[in-house]
């Protein structure tokens, strides 16, 4: 094994247990706020800015010091050229020139002329080792001098220099400025990043807290919006919308379950009574047959109720919605009216259909037919002979509207909203045949088409109006791929404990929606 490999192996052998110990002791954990993506982003920006500052300062430093050094160098070069010219090429001549210069020079000018043996011949500098070229050195008194050394005639050495303390100060000034800027940038980045991360964590913690309460069963809980309209607010809005839907569905299911329990017990009890009596009385075969026949009819009614309930549940949960194809609402209404005309006449009702203008719509012919049929049947059943029932369709302000109106007794204002609840029966119609689900189905079908049903006073009578003024609801099929994507995203963006909580909440909601879909699906 090479030395590098051996070193690596050794360091691993020692480092790993040490690191493990430190981690276990909690000393290596990065604080929570430092693990957010916003903090990391801020550090990155801080580093980038520092790098840019470094480059900039580097450039300034290089240019400025280069300029000043250049000034000094050219002054020295000019002097040297003059002196050499005046010196005439001999050491003695040069000595005279240098001596004069040294005597008359302004402070800050330094000269040195040495002979071949290194003895000072002229100048105001002590003897120095002959070094050629541009150089900088510090004097005994601390001044920095920048100069140039070159060979003098007869093996001598000439050195001319100028005080360069302003150059030194320039360098220091730029250097310090640079350090301050970088330090300042890093500190600001750290502070700013921490502040942002805390704020982000705060929002996440709020969502997490609300979600915990929701998972524990408080479906009325909603995530608060900060009003900043940022991605957290959007997330909160989507979550709230999802929770609204779940709450409505669950509320609906609870209501229906208790209504079913109440309303199906009655026919089942009757059924039971009849069968028990037949057993007790030991009737003739003919009578037993009659009893069985009646029981069969009873069971058929109950089965129909369940089928209707199932249909409503499936429509509401949007499991496998039917395709919405172009059709004319007026045509559907007319077909239904046509079918019921014979019945209406027999019962002494007057049934008419009016199509005001073409009403193109995207919908399910099947479901819309059933919707109109239910409304017409309700009108036929709950109004006395002689009532006029009219079905009208029109397109008003680009919205398709359908109305089924009668001039019968109508529904009292107080009961109009409740009439759509499954199994709701008006007091007056308690004993009429029917499942009590007609209006509930109408509402479910309308909802699927993005329409609203309202009951109002037809003065006199009842007016049922369906307005197709919203977009058909998109299917709320829970999509496992989408769930996986969002979970992965939350793990990338959020620190671990928060990501886990968000994932927990999302999975709980997903499972809930799946079970709502699943419950509405019939078995084989």
């Amino acid at each position: 094994m090479s030395a590098a490999a051996r070193l690596r192996a050794a360091s691993e052998r020692f480092l790993r247990p040490v690191l493990a110990e430190l981690r276990a002791a909690g000393l290596l954990t990065v604080p929570r706020f430092a693990r957010t993506s916003s903090f990391r982003l801020t550090l990155l920006y801080g580093a980038l800015f520092s790098l840019s500052a470094a480059l900039l300062f580097g450039l300034v430093y290089w240019i400025a010091t280069g300029y000043v050094a250049g000034q000094i160098d050219s002054a020295i070069a000019t002097e040297i050229a003059e002196e050499r010219a005046d010196g005439g090429g001999t050491l003695a001549g040069l000595k005279a020139v240098i001596a004069t210069q040294a005597r008359d020079a302004s402070p800050g000018a330094y000269y040195l002329l040495q002979d071949a043996r290194g003895h000072v011949v002229a100048g105001n500098l002590p003897a120095m080792p002959p070094r050629m070229g541009t150089q900088e050195w510090t004097l005994h008194n601390g001044s920095v001098v920048r100069g140039r050394g070159l060979a003098a005639p007869q093996g001598g050495y000439l050195l001319v220099g100028l005080d360069a303390s302003n150059l030194r100060e320039l360098r220091h000034a730029i250097g310090y400025a640079f350090l301050w800027v970088v330090a300042g940038t890093l500190v600001l980045a750290l502070i700013g990043g921490s502040v942002m991360s805390f704020s982000v964590l705060g929002r996440v913690e709020a969502i997490s807290r609300a979600s915990r309460r929701i998972v524990e069963g408080d479906l009325g809980q909603r995530v608060a919006l900060r009003g900043t309209n940022d991605e957290f607010d959007h997330l909160a809005t989507s979550l709230n919308a999802m929770l609204d839907r779940i709450e409505a569905l669950m509320g609906g299911m609870r209501q229906v379950s208790s209504d079913i329990a109440h309303d199906l017990r009655t026919p089942l009890s009757r059924h039971r009574q009849r069968l028990e009596l037949a057993l007790l009385q030991g009737d003739s075969v003919e009578q037993l047959r009659a009893t069985l026949g009646a029981s069969l009819a009873d069971i058929d009614t109950i089965l129909e109720t369940f089928s209707a309930l199932l249909r409503i549940a499936r429509l509401e949960s949007r499991a496998d919605p039917p395709p919405l194809l172009p059709l004319d609402l007026g045509q559907v209404a007319e077909d239904v009216t046509q079918a019921y005309r014979a019945v209406a006449e027999e019962q002494g009702h007057h049934l008419a259909c009016q199509r005001m203008n073409p009403t193109p719509l995207r919908g399910s012919r099947d479901l819309l037919t059933q919707m109109f049929a239910n409304l017409v049947e309700n009108a036929l059943r709950h109004t006395p002979a002689g009532t006029t029932i009219s079905v009208t369709t029109a397109r008003i302000d680009d919205v398709a509207v359908a109305r089924v109106c009668d001039d019968g007794p109508g529904i009292p204002t107080a009961e109009r909203a409740a009439a759509f609840r499954p199994f709701y029966r008006l007091e007056a119609s308690r004993t009429t045949p029917g499942t009590g689900l007609g209006l509930a189905l109408v509402a479910a079908i309308a909802d699927l088409h993005g329409a609203r049903v309202t009951l109002s006073d037809n003065r006199p009578g009842l007016r049922a109006e369906i307005r197709f003024d919203a977009k058909p609801q998109p299917t709320a099929e829970p999509d496992p791929a989408c769930l996986a994507r969002v979970v992965a995203l939350s793990h990338r963006r959020l620190p671990e404990p928060y990501a886990m909580r968000v994932e927990h909440m999302l999975r709980a909601i997903h499972a809930l929606m799946q079970s709502l879909h699943g419950r509405a699906r019939p078995g084989p």
Binding site: D320, P322, A339, A342, Q370, P524
Partner: protein, 227 residues
């Protein structure tokens, strides 16, 4: 008729078996799709009654494969899935009719009859449909009884035509609702009864006996030898 019943639920199979055997048909029961595919391809059947949910090969796939292989035997689907999409899927797979569970034996029997005969009939393109003393000219959409023209509305004509095409067999209310009005649900009012009653009046019929007979608990039947 020789009927192949494909149903994996024991009780439903027994139920259908008993109901159809009583009507005089001879049945064979297959309990999964693969066995059914084999039987259907090797032997001749007058009708297939297929449950959609089957082990190994589901009902839709079974019928699709048979149709692809050239089998034209009519197929009736039995299923608990009764929504629009399911029905459309069944028909698109090559099924001829679709019956939602739970169903009445009378319903099953009536549909089986209707489907079976449909296949057996020679089909020269006819322009005049004639049963007993009633006839319909399919080109002019005019109906006559004993030579006298009948003033029928479009729907009434269609009801009459449907009854005539299934003359001598029971036609259930559900079958009429689906074929004539496209209602795939059970209305709470006796809509079919009222329309039949109107048709009877126009035919000059005074009782429930004929030519359109009410079969109690089942539906209606047009007498072949009408009076």
């Amino acid at each position: 008729m020789r009927i192949l019943l494909v149903e994996d639920d024991r009780e439903t199979a027994d139920y259908a078996l008993q109901g159809l055997t009583r009507e005089g048909h001879s049945l064979r029961v297959a309990t999964d799709g693969r066995e059914a595919l084999l039987l259907a391809s090797c032997e001749d059947w007058d009708l297939l009654v297929v449950d959609r949910m089957l082990p190994h090969l589901d009902g839709l796939a079974l019928v699709r494969m048979l149709r692809a292989g050239g089998t034209t035997t009519p197929a009736l689907f039995l299923t608990a899935l009764g929504e629009v999409n399911d029905r459309v899927a069944g028909l698109q797979a090559g099924g001829d009719d679709y019956l939602v569970k739970p169903f009445a034996l009378a319903e099953l029997a009536a549909r089986v009859e209707a489907l079976g005969r449909r296949a057996q009939r020679q089909v020269p393109p006819e322009t005049v449909l004639s049963v007993g003393d009633i006839e319909i000219d399919l080109l002019t959409h005019l109906a006559r009884r004993r030579g006298e023209p009948l003033d029928l509305q479009e729907r009434e004509l269609r009801i009459l035509e449907y009854l005539m095409r299934n003359a001598g067999r029971v036609v259930t209310r559900t079958m009429l609702l689906e074929s004539i009005w496209g209602f795939h649900f059970t209305p709470r009012t006796n809509l079919v009864e009222s329309n039949i009653s109107r048709l009877r009046t126009k035919l000059g019929q005074e009782s429930d006996a004929g030519p359109i007979e009410t079969v109690r608990g089942l539906g209606y039947r047009l007498h072949v030898r009408g009076r």
